[in-house]
């Protein structure tokens, strides 16, 4: 056995980073043991007991980093140590935000960029209102990423913005694409003719990505925040968005995405659409098609349908032809899904019979409940369409769909699109549950999301046995993570990757129907 060790003076890391580094090291060829730890006397004592404390480490102190590797040969130990430095450098790079000046106040930001016309605000909710007001008063449009902003503050800010002819997108607005620039959690989509107004962040990501994957493009995508369509807020931003895009010469199709608005707000939306001289597609998830009667808007039941309709319209199809095209395509695809369902049913071990949906996108969780309605009792932490509220979001019962982006999982923590640890742990737990037949996942790519979701999910998926895993991947090949690359990695790990969340739900339904649950 060969042991190699080194000290890095004055370098310090947190314990999670160090444990991650040492685990990566242990996976190296010929490595028998490894430790990457701070040089406290206690840690040195443990290294001594593990046979890893070489004389090289004697000079290391509390704020120095100690690296030690034991391997089956000198060469492997040397290579392991070299690899340790690489791993730490990459983790440090991932944790660091660069050395350039990052202003932390609105005034500081305006000094750096005096011509700015939009402020993206992401601070604790209790400070967000004041900052947004200040930005509006300086004549800036605002994308308010922060949540936990009181409703009365939202109303006041939106009224102020409207009076100044500015947009206040949010609060809790996670996604927008303005003049081709993705903001927040958004995807790299080409510019095009479809203008989007959405009160649903992941809904916006799904439709814009599907549009891009179908060869279409987006002129502008305006997020409004989920509460905008409540009676109290009155759809102020949604209506501003509609009017702006109807007047936009670069927009030739208008696509609307939301949960069903309050009836009074819907009435105002329909009045605004009455002036539309371009085709309009409305996906008001869960709303009856009759609500749109008398309006020029085409009803889309799912986010996928909405994107496909809008793309066909943008290509020049008339509404009837576009609708027919989408229906024909659905029929063809349903035949494929039936074949897929058969192969997946064969993978599921006897006795397993329940669906477990683990979503990072709230809109996907909502859409899944819409599309899974009728499979039996569904438990959810954000129930909709007759689902039962879970007693504890941490424990699945029967058919369960969990929105891991809900406050109970995200207060003080990164969003599950960024940090996969909670979801990975939950996947493993669901896999161990002998009643789980099917795991349904959304994987969201794009700016702001995890740089490589597949690397987090693949080990967990590979460890599952007797369970079918269905994924939808929201994103494009232009996204930093690469849609095709992500799909390939997930498929190699045994998952079935579908074109959309709606399609994944339709396949899940077919499999469950056959299992007779």
């Amino acid at each position: 056995m060969a042991v190699k060790a080194k000290v890095r003076k004055g370098e310090y890391f947190d314990s999670v980073t160090l444990m991650r580094a040492s685990r990566q090291l242990l996976a190296g060829e010929g490595i028998q043991d490894a430790a990457v730890v701070m040089g406290s006397p206690e840690n040195k004592a443990i290294l001594q007991a593990s046979g890893l404390l070489g004389p090289e480490l004697a000079e290391g102190g509390d704020t120095d980093l100690l690296l030690a590797v034991s391997a089956d040969s000198e060469a492997h130990a040397e290579a392991g140590l070299a690899r340790a430095f690489e791993v730490l450098a990459s983790l440090k790079k991932r944790n660091s935000h660069g050395a350039t000046f990052r202003p932390c106040s609105l005034e500081g930001a305006l000094e750096v960029l005096p011509g700015a016309n939009l402020a993206l605000i992401s601070v604790a909710g209790r400070h967000a209102g004041d900052l947004a007001r200040s930005a509006l008063e300086k004549g800036l449009h605002v994308m308010l990423f922060s949540d936990n902003v009181p409703l009365e503050t939202e109303i006041e800010l939106k009224r102020l913005a409207a009076a100044k002819e500015l947009l206040l997108m949010g609060p809790d607005c996670g996604t927008a694409i303005l003049n081709g620039i993705p903001l927040g959690f958004a995807n790299a989509v080409p510019r095009g003719k479809i203008g989007i107004v959405a009160a649903a962040g992941t809904g916006l990501q799904e439709v814009s990505s599907l549009v891009a994957n179908e060869g279409g493009g987006v002129s502008q995508a305006i997020g409004t925040g989920g509460r905008d369509l409540k009676a109290e807020v009155g759809g102020i931003t949604f209506l501003q968005g509609i009017r702006a895009l109807l007047a936009d010469p670069d927009t030739s199709v208008l696509l609307l995405v939301s949960k069903p608005p309050h009836p009074e707000v819907l009435q105002r939306i329909l009045e605004a659409l009455a002036e539309a001289k371009i085709p309009v597609v409305a996906c008001l998830l869960g709303a009856a098609p009759q609500l749109l009667e008398g309006s020029p808007a085409l009803h889309a039941q799912t986010l996928e349908d909405a994107a496909l309709l809008a793309t066909a319209l943008a290509r020049g199809a008339d509404p009837e032809a576009a609708t027919r095209e989408v229906q024909d395509r659905r029929k063809r695809r349903d035949e494929d899904l039936e074949a897929l369902a058969r192969t997946q049913r064969a993978r599921i071990s006897p006795g397993r019979r329940y669906l477990r949906g683990l979503f990072s996108g709230g809109t996907f969780c909502y859409e899944a409940q819409l599309l899974l309605k009728g499979i039996g009792e569904v438990h959810a932490n954000a129930p909709a369409f007759g689902s039962t509220r879970m007693e504890s979001a941490l424990r699945s019962v029967g058919h369960t769909v969990v929105d891991l982006g809900e406050d109970e999982f995200t207060v003080g923590r990164p969003h599950p699109m960024v940090d996969f640890s909670l979801r990975v742990r939950r996947i493993l737990e669901e896999g161990r549950d002998p009643e789980t037949a099917l795991i349904l996942l959304d994987v969201v790519l794009g700016f702001g999301a995890h740089p490589d979701p597949a690397s987090e999910l693949v080990p967990a998926l590979q460890s599952l046995q007797g369970v079918s895993v269905l994924c939808s991947v929201t994103g494009t090949d232009r996204d930093p993570q690469g849609r095709r690359r992500t799909i390939q990695a997930l498929e190699e790990a045994g998952a079935v990757v579908l074109a959309s969340n709606a399609e994944a739900c339709r396949l899940a339904r077919r499999i469950l129907d056959a299992l007779g649950t």
């Binding site: 310090y12 980073t17 430790a35 443990i46 593990s50 990052r102 003080g412 923590r413």
Partner: protein, 278 residues
């Protein structure tokens, strides 16, 4: 840069630059650290909340009555903007800890940033989780034994075993010990137990050469929690479930794993109690 709030335990005097993190700029007086922190961390007895941290590390922090100077630059603050880490004299009506402790355990174990010692809440979880290296295995064994001794009649041995246990800059064992000391203070408040000798002795045994750890242990000895932890302890005392979930998640989100290790120390102490000592 503006001072938003300052802790109530920051002694007047001069402090030298110690270290810089994304959300904190640390200064030392040789015994403990005083930190300038961004607002999202909340308040703490030894923290100065500022609206932004300048890009360059400052060299010297001077604390005077009503003013804080950073390299000679004055950050005035009003006494009303002081964070009070003391408890109000009137304790809220005590609701009993049982169901809330179960909820706290659930939040800690469900936290994505679960640290090395959070597994002590469920030793079966700790045993089943793969400890990949000899170092991790030894740490886990030490931690299990240390926690057992700490709560039994041998707290000094427990503190010795837990001290410095963990690979990182703020070792998990030290955070756990700080949580334990806060838990002892809470037990005193709830049951009136005479635990001060135990608190002093465990603190002495837990001190090492790590200023980050020593600062946390110093505050824990005094029973002066930072804001997130105070919220958690108040929610426990008052029996407020929703507040507890929020506060527990907020504590668990601190640092890479410090928050969960601290919460684990608090939980284990409250749940299992302590054997008589000395």
């Amino acid at each position: 840069m503006r001072c938003l709030r300052a802790g109530d335990l920051i002694p007047r005097g001069s402090y030298a630059f110690h270290s810089r993190f994304e959300k904190a700029l640390n200064f030392s007086n040789g015994r403990f650290l005083v930190s300038l922190v961004t607002p999202e961390l909340g308040a703490g007895p030894l923290w100065v909340q500022v609206d932004e941290l300048d890009r360059l590390p400052a060299q010297c922090l001077v604390v005077e009555a009503g003013a804080i100077r950073l390299d000679g630059r004055c950050l005035g603050y009003h006494p009303s903007a002081t964070y009070r880490s003391t408890w109000s004299r009137e304790a809220p009506p005590f609701q009993g800890l049982g169901p809330l402790l179960a909820l706290l355990r659930e939040r800690i174990l469900g936290s994505p940033s679960r640290g090395l010692l959070a597994g002590l809440l469920a030793p079966d979880v700790l045993r089943n989780e793969e400890q990949h290296s000899a170092f991790e295995r030894t740490c886990a064994e030490r931690a299990l034994e240390g926690a057992k001794q700490l709560l039994s009649g041998n707290p000094l041995e427990g503190a010795r075993l837990l001290r410095g246990c963990g690979p990182g800059l703020t070792p998990s064992g030290d955070d756990f010990l700080a949580g334990h000391l806060h838990g002892l203070h809470l037990l005193m408040r709830i049951h009136g137990h005479a635990l001060r000798p135990r608190i002093r002795a465990v603190h002495r045994a837990a001190l090492g050469g790590n200023l980050f750890s020593n600062t946390g242990l110093h505050l824990a000895r005094l029973g002066r929690p930072f804001e997130r932890l105070k919220d958690l302890m108040e929610a426990l005392l008052a029996g407020r479930r929703e507040a507890l979930v929020r506060a527990a998640d907020s504590v668990c989100a601190l640092g890479a794993s410090s928050g969960t290790d601290l919460a684990a120390g608090l939980y284990v102490t409250l749940e299992r109690g302590v054997a008589p000592w000395p």
